[in-house]
Structures are given as structure tokens and as C-alpha cells.
Amino acid sequence: MAVLTEEQSLLRDAARTWTQEKSSVSAFRNMRDAALPLGYDPATFAEMAAMGWCGVIIPEEYGGSGFGYLGLGLILEETGRTLTASPLLATALAAASALVLGGSEAQKRRWLPGIATGDLVATLAVDEGAHHAPRKVALAAGRNGEGWRLDGAKAFVLEGMAAEVFVVSARTSGQSGDEGGITLFLVAADAQGLIRQSLKLADSRGAANLAFEGVEVGPDAMLGEVDAGWPLLDQILDRARAGLAAEMLGTAVQAFETTLDYLKVRVQFGQVIGAFQALQHRAAAMFTDLELARSCVEAALIAIDESSPDTAELVSLAKAKMGETLHRVSNEMVQMHGGIGMTDAHDAGLYLKRARAAETAFGGQAFHRDRYARLQGY
């Protein structure tokens, strides 16, 4: 655990208390079984917003608290423990980062206060194919009088059915795959020609595919500079990745602790299975991995808060190591629980499904190992 300020400790303690009491894994299960259309319970999200969690990275002048990314990461770690489903990551971290980093004064004033109170849900619409590949932007934005006209598609937009506004990467010049020629736009969900398709995912959270059929936006919809959106997009994505890694840390830690508890009570061959040395050594290896992954996640969040020049590589490190660790821990959770872990009535399956969805989002292990190597110049 990082050495925390008093504010950070208070945030974390509040988040821990609230998730344990109000948003346990069974709350998530109930949400899933009720098949809520957005993939989360709006009343639950309203409680989170009421605690100020939607404004943690938003400066005070726009309605936030400016506590920074480590602060928000501490909350996400706690919500990740109990698999809490909410648009916190999509709106209060990813979309808010887009506006904080790239928004004009007018854009900030227009959108950030709503995000900070939780009244407005925003999200990123970046990928177009089955794999995270943020340079592969084909969705075209052409000049349309003073404004722009967008044609194309976005895939697998987190909280895509809940969002009222999208941060959309579009191509204003160049070819799909080029870094140059990418421009970001803010597009309202109710814009004419924007069609959403809801996706039903294994992890039961909300996502959508979007089709843009001649969607017209004004000049004030552009975020940042024309054709030069790539560095901004890359920075926004790194914030989303670091926050997601923090959520995954909580998920992995809880999956491990639940498994450890089971090892201490399940009796086979006349003793608790936690007394079997082969399982002990696997548990020790997982614990070691979790400690190493935690260091990476915290370092990435701190690097963002300190605008450190090695932020990008620390974020890829965190997402990749956290992905590896969660992958292993979630598989071991099922294996070590044996048959009971295979049943839908047990939580292991919920953790396993969440694990793969989180690993995949914003780039999996292979993506981030490759990115790390490129950033190191090999």
C-alpha cells in the first residue's frame, strides 16, 4: 500500500465501508439477475456520486475535489473488490480526463460540473474492431459548414447505453493506423444519425456498438486541435488504463482472499485443503504476484498525479502485470474451489468473467507488453 495522505486514507476508508455495506458481490449478482438495461443500478451510482466520487480528479473550479488519480484509484480498488458495476470509470475517470486534459474553458464549464455531480454520464468511443487499437481510426469527420459531419462506427463502448455524451476519436486526415490525422469530438448521445446497439456481455456490465450516419456537430464539439488528437487520446487512455488497473487490483485481491478463506475451511482427505503444500506454494506465488502488481498500479497512478515523464510505460506495466495477475488468480479461484466454483450460485464465475472483460478493455497483456517494448525503443 502506498503511503497515503489523510485525505486519501479517508477516501479509501469511506469506499471500503460503503462497498462492504451497500454494494457487496450479492448486490452485483442481484443487478445481473434483474437484467437491468444499463448494466448497473442508477440508484447505486447516485449514492456513489453523492459521496463525491465522480469529482475526484476534477478541479475544484469545475465542481470536483481535485484529489487526483491515486485518490480515485483507491476508490476503484474498493469497488473492484465487490465487482460493483457503475459508470464511475467511464465517466468520472476516462471522459473527465478527456475534458480536463483537452477541453477548452467553455467545454470544461459546460460538461465537467455535470460529470462531477454524477448527473451526466459520459464515456470514450475509441475502438472500431475486436481489439483495442486506438490508432486504427476509420470513422470519418468531414467539414460541414462551420462544424463537422461524422460517418462510421465505434465498437464496444463501455457504458454506451447509459452515456449522454461520447468522446469520439475520428479521422480528419491520413489513413487508419496513422497517428496524425486523428481528431477528438464530443458528441451527444441523442444526436441525429447516432444509432446504438446494446451488447449483452459475459460480465453483465453495460456496453454498446455505435453507428454514426451523417452525425452533424458544431465547431464547439471538437476537443483539442484538428489532426493532432493522438497525443491527447494517448494520455486520456493511459488514465483510463491506470484506473482500470486499480479496479482490477481490488478484484484480484478479493478473488484471492475469498479463495484463501476457502482453503482454510474446506476439508478433504481429513484436513483443510490449505494444509496441502502444493496449494500453499501456489497461494504464496499468487500473493507475491499481487504485491508486485500493486506496486505497479500505485506507481502508475502516482506518475499521472506527478506528470512524470515515464507515465506511459508505467501505465502499460501496470495494465499488463495486473492483467497477468488477475488472469491467474481468477483461474485459480475456480480451480481451488473445485466443483462448487463451477456453479453459477458461487461467486467464482462472476470474478472470472469480470477478469477477462477487464483484461481486454483498453488493451490486453500482449498489447501492453508490445507498447512497453516500443516505449523502451526495441
Binding site: K200, Q268, Q335, K353, G364
Partner: protein, 401 residues
């Protein structure tokens, strides 16, 4: 008359080919997978006719004795039959736990009356069997089971609960391990056949993380079972069960190979991933892992073939089945994980629009396949068996598995 008098397998080839040409309906070619659907027997007329033809010939269980409805073929002839069926796109409509597990066990341990009563319906595909071994408190530690079987004079009285009874909701019969002696652990276990239509039998399907329910909880409440449904001696069930589990493991080891007919993951990858100018998968990290997996799969298949060649002279499955069970489970699970990774976001769907049927099936298969290393003796139990029985290492805990 002895079974398989003509030992020359090639002489048999023409006979098999002609019979298949005459009896296998063209409409069923390559549709073997249809039998794996959940629930009852299919009702298509062609399937029923084909099942009857195979049942009359005994070729659903080609090496079982003719006396009990088997085909009476020599192993070499059975291999020829398999080759000819494969060439014709034909498949056996007769399978399940009766064929894979109970039949071989009854042939070895059953009384003559039990064989005559139970083997022919299995050979004809008319009796569906389920396995009542596992209990909630006894996972890998099978011998700690608690379902009680009391001697009630003219019948047995059974009370208890089983879990992971696959297909119990559709089964006619259950082969069960029951406790006939509380005082002794392994020697207190007996092997009993229970009619699932008996009073006091209740089944509840278990919903799995994959969303399917292939298994049940099965409850026995004061179930009366005829005295002559006991297989082998009283208290001799453990020996029979260990033998039966070898048949099961041999079957499950084939599961990894089951992937054989499916598309190689490298072909799948070409559909989902970018290729470089030389036609290689551009994600080099994933490419290396795909190659590693396909090599593991090939190594597994070569080992399965080698093990079959080597065991042809032996009487049954060898201790090496423990190796194949674990290796097969690992290959199949790696394959499922890689499939999801290759599909990316498309490999995260649960149902509904936006995903192909194959994508949704991959997700369910990935989840369901997590059981490969749990059931039929967990990976951990198999490793301990290898260490003890094959490598001769001492028991770390002194118990007598």
C-alpha cells in the same frame, strides 16, 4: 462360437464398407455433434433408423461380446470399422456413460444376471445411465462419501445426496457409490445400481457459470433398491470405482483431442487479427503463444496415439491415463483462453446481437471447460497419483488413496 474368428482386419474392411453404404443415411453425414445436445434422444426418423441398424449389428460397442449385444470384433477390426466410418462421415449414435464407463465395468465385475439385464440395453442405446459418485462434502476425497445404504432385509434402503450427477434429469439408471459401513472408510463403500424411477429419487439441475445445466444434485430419500442390484461384494465398491474412473479418465483425456475436428486457433486468428506483409500474425506476442499452443496440442495428440499403440497388447487403460487427463485438460483450457484472446471484445459476449453463434459458443465453452481440470479427479489428484503410483514417491499424508 468364439467372437471375431477371422482375425485378418483387412478382410473385414470390405464387409464394413458395404454395410455402411447400405445402412448409414446420407442425410446424417458429418452430423455426429447432434447427439451431444442436452436432453432426450433425437426424434428424426433417419436417426432412429440408424440407431436401430447399429444396435442390431452391435457396432455401437464393437468389441463387446455378441452374447450381450456387442459387435464381437477384434480390436484391429474395430479400428478398421472406425476408419471406414470416418471415411463415410458416419458416427456412432450409441454412447454416454453406459458405453464409456458402466458397460466395461459390469463386463469385468458384474454377475452374469447383471450383465444380461443391463448390458444389452446399453449396447442398443436404449438405457441412459448417470454416475452417482461425488457428494457435496466429498470432492476430490471421494472415499469420504456419506450416502447411507442400509440392509432392510429384502431390499437396500438408501438415503443421501449426490452432486455432479451428469444428465441425472434424463437418466433411466444411476450407478452409485454408497456407504454400507460407517466404521471403515474405503472398505465401507459398495457399488449399487439404482433405478431413477424409484420412489424417493429427486433431481435438481445445477446451473453452471457457463449458463448450462448438464449436472444435477440428486437426492435419495428412503429409496428401496433390490438386493441383487449390488455389483461385486459388499464393501468392494472402492476397487470397482477406481477401475471405472480409469475408464473415465481415458475418455476425458480424449477431450483435448476432441478439438481436433474444430478449426485450428491459428486459422481463427487470421480472421480476427492483423497480418503483416509476409502473411504472419502481426501481434508477435500472441503469434508466439499460438504456435506454442499448437505445438502442445500436437504433442498431446502424438502422445495419445503412442499410448494407444503401446497399450494395444495390454488389457485396459494404464496408469499413464493420469498424464493424459491433465495434459488434455491443459491443452483444451489453453485453447479456450487463446480463442477468447483472439476474438478480443467479440469473445466477451453472453447472448443477443453483436456476436456470432461461434463467438457466443466460445465464451460458454471457455467457462464450461474450466471443469476439465476439476471433474474425474482434479488436476491436483492426478498429479498426486502420478507422483505416488508412477514415480514411487511416498504419500505425504499417510492416507491410503
Amino acid at each position: 462360437m468364439p467372437d471375431h474368428p477371422a482375425a485378418d482386419p483387412e478382410a473385414f474392411r470390405a464387409e464394413a464398407r458395404a454395410w455402411l453404404a447400405a445402412n448409414f443415411p446420407a442425410s446424417l453425414k458429418g452430423r455426429g455433434g447432434v447427439m451431444m445436445a442436452e436432453g432426450g434422444l433425437p426424434s428424426e426418423p433417419d436417426i432412429r433408423a440408424w440407431t436401430r441398424a447399429m444396435a442390431d449389428k452391435g457396432w455401437g460397442v464393437p468389441t463387446w461380446p455378441r452374447a450381450y449385444g456387442g459387435g464381437g470384433l477384434a480390436p484391429a477390426q474395430a479400428k478398421v470399422l472406425q476408419q471406414e466410418m470416418s471415411a463415410a462421415g458416419a458416427w456412432s449414435p450409441i454412447g454416454g456413460m453406459g458405453v464409456m464407463m458402466l458397460g466395461p465395468t459390469l463386463l469385468e465385475y458384474g454377475a452374469e444376471a447383471q450383465k444380461q439385464r443391463h448390458i444389452p440395453p446399453i449396447a442398443r442405446g436404449e438405457a441412459r445411465w448417470c454416475q452417482g459418485f461425488s457428494e457435496p462434502g466429498a470432492g476430490s476425497d471421494l472415499a469420504s462419501l456419506q450416502t447411507r445404504c442400509e440392509d432392510a432385509g429384502d431390499h437396500w434402503l438408501v438415503n443421501g445426496q449426490k452432486i455432479w450427477t451428469s444428465g441425472a434429469q434424463w437418466a433411466d439408471w444411476c450407478f452409485c457409490l454408497v456407504r454400507t459401513d460407517q466404521a471403515r472408510k474405503h472398505e465401507g463403500i459398495s457399488f449399487l445400481l439404482i433405478d431413477m424411477r424409484s420412489g424417493g429419487v429427486e433431481t435438481r439441475p445445477i446451473r453452471l457459470i457457463s449458463g448450462n445445466s448438464p449436472f444435477c444434485e440428486t437426492f435419495f430419500t428412503d429409496v428401496k433398491v433390490p438386493k441383487d442390484n449390488l455389483v461385486g461384494p459388499l464393501g468392494g465398491g472402492w476397487t470397482i470405482a477406481k477401475r471405472l474412473l480409469q475408464h473415465e479418465r481415458g475418455g476425458l483425456a480424449g477431450a483435448g483431442r476432441g478439438g481436433l475436428t474444430a478449426e485450428p486457433v491459428s486459422d481463427l486468428a487470421k480472421g480476427y487479427l492483423d497480418l503483416d506483409d509476409a502473411g504472419r500474425i502481426a501481434d508477435s506476442d500472441l503469434r508466439a503463444r499460438i504456435a506454442g499452443h499448437e505445438m502442445d496440442l500436437m504433442a498431446f495428440q502424438l502422445t495419445a496415439a503412442r499410448s494407444m499403440r503401446e497399450s494395444r497388447s495390454n488389457s485396459g487403460p494404464s496408469a499413464a491415463t493420469s498424464i493424459m487427463k491433465n495434459a488434455g485438460a491443459r491443452v483444451a483450457q489453453d485453447r479456450a483462453e487463446l480463442t477468447l484472446e483472439i476474438m478480443g471484445n467479440q469473445g466477451l459476449g453472453w447472448e443477443g446481437e453483436g456476436f456470432t453463434r461461434d463467438e457466443l459458443a466460445a465464451v460458454r465453452g471457455w467457462l464450461g471447460g474450466k471443469a476439465f481440470s476439476i471433474y474425474g479427479g482434479s488436476a491436483e489428484v492426478q498429479d498426486s497419483i502420478i507422483a505416488k503410483r508412477i514415480l514411487g514417491l511416498p504419500d505425504p499424508l499417510g492416507q491410503s488413496r
